[in-house]
């Protein structure tokens, strides 16, 4: 990060987060810390089988267990007709199976709830779960999304008649935003001066792995039913609880206390949350559910999981003439709240920063007997960026061009903004030359290329790879009219309220719902500047529908770009009201009142009053203008007119040990253009975390299912997350071409690191070994996969012996095949 002089404004200061003390010292309150008196605890009996009909459920032993109040199936709760919501019908004929709160006679993925135990303690509930005897009739699971999409495939939901939930198409010719891709490809095939590059990439399935497992407490004892939930979306959860269970919205209060991470993984409306509501109503007692880590990995929605078939037509001079994208996207067994729309969010990003005359995007959403997928950091956009950025490298290889130079040839130049893209978006600002040039300087691109050449020449067993990725993303979800045109089930606005207290302090409510982002700090900085009050005089209130009744919550890099602007607009209204009172008290015309640094002054005089004095005057209400309410408090709802488009250039260098296949990252440089920066320290944190997550997809993570549909790595022993020890020290910088679509000039940063780093790493790994004959390595590019690719390239037989992973790990390094449950001696 660049070190600059500390700015005189709050905006731009690298403030340590106000939230940190309570979060880091563990003095925070998460949902599981909340236990109203009389709380009963639930635990869910879960299917151990991916696909089966249920012959019978014997609850008798469990019901007799100590501390157990009851064991319930969907039928026992009268909840057979309850279906969890999907808010994004991407096509009018989208096939959407009912997702039950508990299985109705059949299970469709391993981990699906079958029955629920209610007990005096969480331990008693857990003990009794083991006593529920479910008799399953196993069926062949549907696991391969591509095979599942074919005619005649075994059906996950036979009543739907197909495993394809929907096929969504964007064609630039039909939309009138560009040319015809089929013609571009046909022309390229017939032209000696053009080439057609075809590739298939796989986006493996990932587990969001947020730190705090999901949890929910429902207290029915007040006039309003109160729901505490570890959720990113308290407002959406309230509305959806009404939609799902018919409880009037006015009778619901939803609180998201401190929430320990989400990454998109906490935007769902959960069967367990609905169960807590149903049971609380039935029993008249507070009900609590907190999942275990294994339950979380097995049943919280997963991310990514696409097959990408890509065809690009390019002139031999390097100019792209058309890009045809076909995706299969694995939805899992049911549709999540916004799951079907996740690949569609990517549709608009396959052209990325490049000028393309023609683009077609076709996506088939497919059901399988796996955990459902939904938003995960970047949601559709990392997948799209991976596809285009890997393709740019492939085209560079085909044409023998430097990958940076080829990108520059095709990207939108800084003097071409605003630019209407082939998918109909208008990029307001950007400067790809600036970000790339700075990244290249920091990286020493030329020096590393020389070293790479030397290692290749000497046949060094350790080869150097250089990986590149640029990216842009559509942030600030989203203009409500655009969401309407995509059939999304909500708007994209955000709400705020700013109120001046009698003593001059400021309370701000926001509909954004932080779960680790540092909103309290960043929003305080904005308000402090706008109102000219001290940073510590601003309190940001959020995450409780009784405190901040209106909002659309936090996801899609929207909190600052949409929620922050609502706060700015509300603060402007406060100033307008205060100005009237100031004019009245100062006996001046309102036109002569100026406001700066928290002071209202009469132009040309030394008369003035501080905003705190005005707030006190409004509170006392002894003397204020006729025709005005004695209050400065103001609401605002901001609905953006366009997305914002942050971008950046990421470069990495890694050593690839050709003897073992090990990839060791050596240098990672990213220069991101995220517009104006409110708090550089928070930005740096977001970028670091994002990079780690994106690198993890490239090198380490994958949710593996065996042929019976069991998730075999459902513990952190088996599901490989990197730690700081596996990552290099990152060089991160920002440059800025401020957004013109919002008054702060901000663009959003939450997803940036995750989006660009994955293709940068994979491009680098391939760059290290391509000269040895390797053309593709699927993610994650583990040591074994790299080594095996090298063996195949050498012409060696590298048949992989079948893996014999017998069960999820148990905090054990090994699983004994003779003792798969891992009983210790």
């Amino acid at each position: 990060m660049t070190t600059t002089a500390e700015p005189t404004t709050e905006i731009g200061r690298a403030r340590v987060r106000k939230e940190d003390q309570r979060l880091i010292t563990g003095r925070s309150r998460y949902t599981d810390s909340i236990t109203p008196s009389g709380t009963v605890h639930i635990a869910v009996v879960r299917s151990t089988i991916a696909r089966a009909t249920i012959n019978s459920i014997d609850k008798s032993e469990a019901e007799k267990a100590p501390g157990v109040f009851g064991v319930y199936t969907a039928a026992d709760l009268g909840a057979e007709e309850v279906g969890l919501p999907c808010a994004w019908p991407i096509t009018p004929d989208q096939k959407a199976p009912q997702r039950p709160v508990l299985a109705n006679g059949r299970v469709n993925f391993s981990g699906e709830g079958v029955a629920v135990v209610v007990a005096r303690s969480a331990a008693a509930a857990r003990d009794a779960v083991e006593l529920v005897d479910v008799d399953y009739e196993p069926l062949d699971p549907v696991l391969d999304m591509e095979a599942a999409a074919q005619d005649g495939a075994e059906l996950v939901h036979p009543d739907l008649g197909s495993n394809v939930s929907a096929t969504w198409v964007f064609d630039s010719a039909a939309a009138g935003t560009g040319g015809d891709v089929s013609e571009a490809i046909k022309a390229a095939e017939a032209d000696d001066d053009q080439i057609v590059v075809r590739r298939r990439f796989r986006q493996q399935r990932l587990i969001p792995a947020f730190m705090e497992p999901r949890s929910c407490v429902v207290d029915p004892t007040g006039e309003q039913l109160t729901i505490w939930a570890a959720t990113q979306v308290p407002h959406i959860l309230r509305t959806m609880t009404t939609v799902t269970l018919g409880v009037p919205e006015s009778k619901l209060r939803v609180i998201a206390p401190d929430v320990g991470g989400g990454f998109g993984g906490k935007i769902g409306v959960l069967p367990e949350e609905m169960l807590c509501v149903l049971l609380a109503q039935k029993l008249g007692k507070p009900v609590k559910w907190t999942e275990t880590r294994s339950e979380c990995m097995l049943t919280a929605h997963h991310g990514r999981d696409q097959i990408q078939d890509l065809v690009m037509a390019v002139r031999k001079d390097g100019t792209i003439t058309g890009f045809d994208v076909h995706l299969y996207a694995d939805m899992g067994a049911y549709l999540g709240l916004v799951g079907p729309g996740v690949p569609i969010l990517g549709a608009f990003m396959f052209n990325a920063i490049y000028k393309m005359p023609a683009l077609r995007f076709t996506c088939s959403n497919v059901f399988t007997n796996k955990t459902l997928t939904d938003a995960y950091r970047g949601a559709g956009r990392p997948e799209a960026t991976f596809a285009i950025e890997r393709m740019m490298d492939e085209v560079a290889v085909e044409l023998g061009r430097d990958p940076v130079e080829l990108r520059e040839q095709n990207w939108i130049k800084h003097d071409e903004f605003p630019y209407d893209t082939v998918v109909g978006l208008t990029y307001d600002t950007g400067n790809y030359e600036q970000a790339t040039q700075r990244a290249m300087e920091l990286f020493d691109y030329a020096g590393l290329r020389r070293e790479q050449e030397e290692r290749r020449r000497s046949g060094d067993p350790v080869q150097l790879g250089i990986g590149i990725s640029t990216f842009t993303e559509m942030c600030g979800l989203a203009p409500s009219r655009v969401l309407g045109s995509l059939d999304y089930g909500a708007g994209g606005w955000e709400a705020a309220n700013v109120r001046m207290l009698a003593t001059g302090k400021v309370e701000v409510t926001t509909g954004a719902s932080a779960h680790g982002q540092g909103h309290e700090t960043a929003f305080s900085q904005i308000v402090a500047d706008k109102l000219g009050v001290g940073f510590d005089d601003v309190e940001i209130l959020h995450g409780d529908t009784q405190v901040a009744p209106k909002g659309l919550d936090t996801y899609g890099s929207r909190s600052l770009v949409v929620g922050g602007i609502a706060i700015v607009n509300a603060a402007e209204k406060v100033i307008e009201k205060a100005k009237k009172i100031a004019a009245h008290l100062l006996e001046a015309s309102e036109d002569d009142i100026e406001f700066a640094n928290g002071q209202f002054t009469v132009r040309g005089t030394d008369k003035g009053k501080a905003i705190q004095e005005i707030a006190f005057a409004a509170f006392m209400a002894h003397d204020y203008p006729e025709g005005m309410e004695p209050s400065l408090d103001s609401d605002a709802v901001f609905d953006p007119e366009n997305f914002s488009f942050p971008h950046g250039t990421h470069l990495c260098a890694m050593e690839v040990d050709t003897d073992t296949g090990r990839v060791n990252l050596r240098r990672y440089v990213c220069v991101d253009d995220i517009g104006n920066v409110i708090n550089p320290l928070i930005v740096e944190g977001q970028v670091h975390g994002g990079l780690a997550q994106g690198i993890a997809q490239a090198l380490f993570e994958e949710a593996n299912y065996d042929e019976s549909g069991t998730l075999v790595n459902a513990t952190f022993v088996d599901y490989t997350l990197p730690s700081a020890a596996d990552l290099p020290s990152f060089t991160t910088e920002t440059v800025s071409t401020p957004s013109t679509t919002n008054p702060l000039g901000v663009k959003g940063v939450g997803e940036a690191g995750t989006i660009a780093s994955t293709p940068a790493i994979v491009n680098g790994v391939l760059d290290a070994v391509r000269h040895l004959g390797v053309t593709e390595i699927e993610m994650p590019t583990t040591s074994q996969r790299v080594w095996r690719a090298l063996q195949v390239a050498k012409g060696h037989q590298a048949q992989q012996t079948p893996s014999d992973t017998h069960s999820p790990g148990a905090g054990l390094g090994s699983i004994d095949p003779n003792n798969p449950k891992g009983e210790v001696q």
Partner: protein, 283 residues
Amino acid sequence: MIPAKFDYVRPSSVEEAVSALQQAGEDAKILAGGQSLLPVLRLRMAAPSTVIDLGGIPELKRIGEDDQYVMVGAMATHHEVMRNDLIKQHVELISQATETVADPQVRHRGTLGGALAHADPAGDLGAAALALDAEFVILGSGGTRLVPAAEFFQDYFTTAIGEGEILTMIRFPKYTGWKTHYEKFNRVAQAWSMVAVAVALKVDGGSISEARIGLTNMGNVPIRATGVERALVGQAAGPDVAKAAAEHATEGTSAPSDADAAADYREHLAKVLTGRAVLAAAG
């Protein structure tokens, strides 16, 4: 997650521990540092009737020496082992292997004896103990018996510790002045070994006079790479010698296959890592 119900006993002497173990019967489990047992309990992969916690017996934490041996109490933590000067001086290979175990939190809780008695083939300490011909002091109602490392590891998670017995101490012959190295290969920095190689070399006048090599996770139990040892003795340690000797690394192994590494890849790694470990030890 919440373990199934169990009785908990915390004896204050080894004699008490043995009698508690005998009273509790075959469903009892010994709790040392808990770094393997607790996850297993929490995942309900084990549901012992009684857990006997050895944490209250000070004598099990002692590290000492006599003329021939360094004696390490079974309840000495990895952290204590790593920092101990006697071990560093006379059995440095154990310090080196211990340094690679998990992360600092685990090393402050986990114990040498617990890890060895757990006998996970992916654990790092078994191969080093085997290579060094450690001896295991096992206490039962009939008194103490001494089991050599070559007989201690019997199968996956299975050792020579019998029903009603407790591992109280591990004693290592002194290898003062030997050149040692532990070469570990894992998926991420804090993970179990995919494969690892423990090497101790006695070098006299530039040539290797004695070699002791143990392999981690190349079979159900730690394995002694005797073929490599034989190929090294009498040679001067250099790249060609190391490489040629390492070709013997897979002799007598039966590498497991899992999602991280199929057997053929493990076999390949065993050779590469053995070569590297020998060179690194010879320094």
